[in-house]
């Protein structure tokens, strides 16, 4: 009974391997992680290779596969696709720069709403400065035209006027 179940399982596994090799079903590598599964996988590929080219009727010497498998076992496992360090840093730098730019833009736009008192002082400073007096008159003359939109208001802040 147990032997019969084993035979049925193997026949089913072989049929699955045949379909996996032909990409006609989603492969389940864990089902091939047995000596029998690997042997069937290898033999079916050998048959395909030989049918396509007799030059591939190659019998590797004893234990080539086992040697490679052992050598791979001694390698550290790969747990994720590796990203070159420089690209990782570049990505972090770009992200940081984007955050800083966003904060600066918000502060630049919102600042006039929180600096009414300072503006009075700055206006006074401008009026007190002889060389800026003409410039202030020029800006004041355009105040009505430009309106009070936040961006335009910023455009005649002292920083802009001193240029």
């Amino acid at each position: 009974m147990q032997a019969r179940q084993q035979q049925e399982h193997e026949a089913s596994l072989e049929a699955s391997i045949s379909a996996w090799i032909d990409a006609e079903a989603d492969i389940r590598p864990e089902d091939l992680d047995t000596p029998y599964g690997r042997r069937v996988w290898d033999t079916y590929h050998l048959i395909g290779d030989v049918l396509r080219s007799e030059d591939l009727a190659i019998k590797p010497s004893d234990f080539l596969y086992a040697r490679i498998s052992r050598a791979i076992d001694e390698e550290p496992p790969i747990v994720a696709p590796r990203v070159p360090p420089i690209r990782r840093f570049a990505r972090a730098g770009v992200s940081g720069l984007a955050v800083a730019a966003a904060v600066a833009a918000v502060a630049w736009v919102a600042m006039p709403y929180f600096t009414t008192g300072d503006q009075v002082v700055m206006h006074a400073q401008l009026q007190a400065a002889p060389e800026a007096e003409g410039l202030y008159d020029y800006v004041a003359a355009h105040h009505d035209i430009t309106g009070v939109g936040p961006v335009r208001q910023v455009s005649f802040e002292p920083g802009g006027g001193s240029r």
Binding site: G48, L51, Y65
Partner: protein, 201 residues
């Protein structure tokens, strides 16, 4: 789904730490890599050493494989570079004049024969394998032989084979599997101890 997808699925497993998935890629491509390297390395005893080194290098680099090319094309490049490094390290003159490559990374030349991997034992084994496969193919029922030829030689999908042979896809799947099983049964005696699970696997 195609062959590239099968390889991609196995590569993805390896990239997540599944070393046994890499074993399946080794088994799938070891003959093609040995055949390729046999054109660059004259000493048959060294071909398997370089083959092993090429696969280990491929494993170490597989984290960087992004699938822009087919896995075999990528592996082929690594094998070529490994062989060239081996030649340089051992002071050997490159022997690549007869190697040509198509866009899929397949190699071919005008003097292909079975003598490159040329110990008397390996030549005998190669001849026996080829003869056994050919004899088993001739012994197959016509519908099984046609099905596996359309798949392995023409590269047709099961759906196309089903249309060509005017039968359901399930029948195609069964015919190809039965053909492989019949040929594999004949190969068991030729492959001998190497295919003893307790020894090799």
């Amino acid at each position: 789904m195609n062959q590239r997808d099968v390889d991609a699925a196995l590569v993805a497993r390896v990239q997540r730490g599944d070393k046994r998935a890499f074993d399946l890629l080794v088994l799938k491509y070891q003959r093609k890599i040995m055949r390729l390297l046999s054109r660059m390395i004259r000493d048959p005893s060294e071909i398997e050493d370089v083959t092993q080194e090429a696969f280990i290098k491929a494993y170490r680099a597989i984290g960087q494989f992004r699938g822009e090319s087919a896995f075999y094309t990528w592996l082929y490049r690594i094998a070529i570079n490994t062989a060239r490094n081996w030649q340089a390290a051992n002071g050997r003159r490159p022997n690549t004049s007869s190697v040509m490559e198509n866009e899929d990374g397949e190699t071919f030349d005008g003097i292909d024969n079975l003598t490159d991997i040329s110990t008397p034992e390996s030549m005998l084994a190669s001849r026996q394998i080829a003869e056994t496969v050919n004899a088993a193919m001739q012994a197959l029922p016509e519908e099984l032989r046609t099905a596996i030829l359309l798949r392995e030689i023409e590269g047709m999908s099961y759906e196309d084979i089903a249309q060509s042979m005017a039968c359901p896809i399930g029948t195609v799947r069964s015919r190809i599997f039965r053909a492989r099983e019949a040929i594999a049964a004949q190969l068991k005696t030729v492959l001998g101890d190497d295919h003893d699970p307790d020894r090799r696997w």
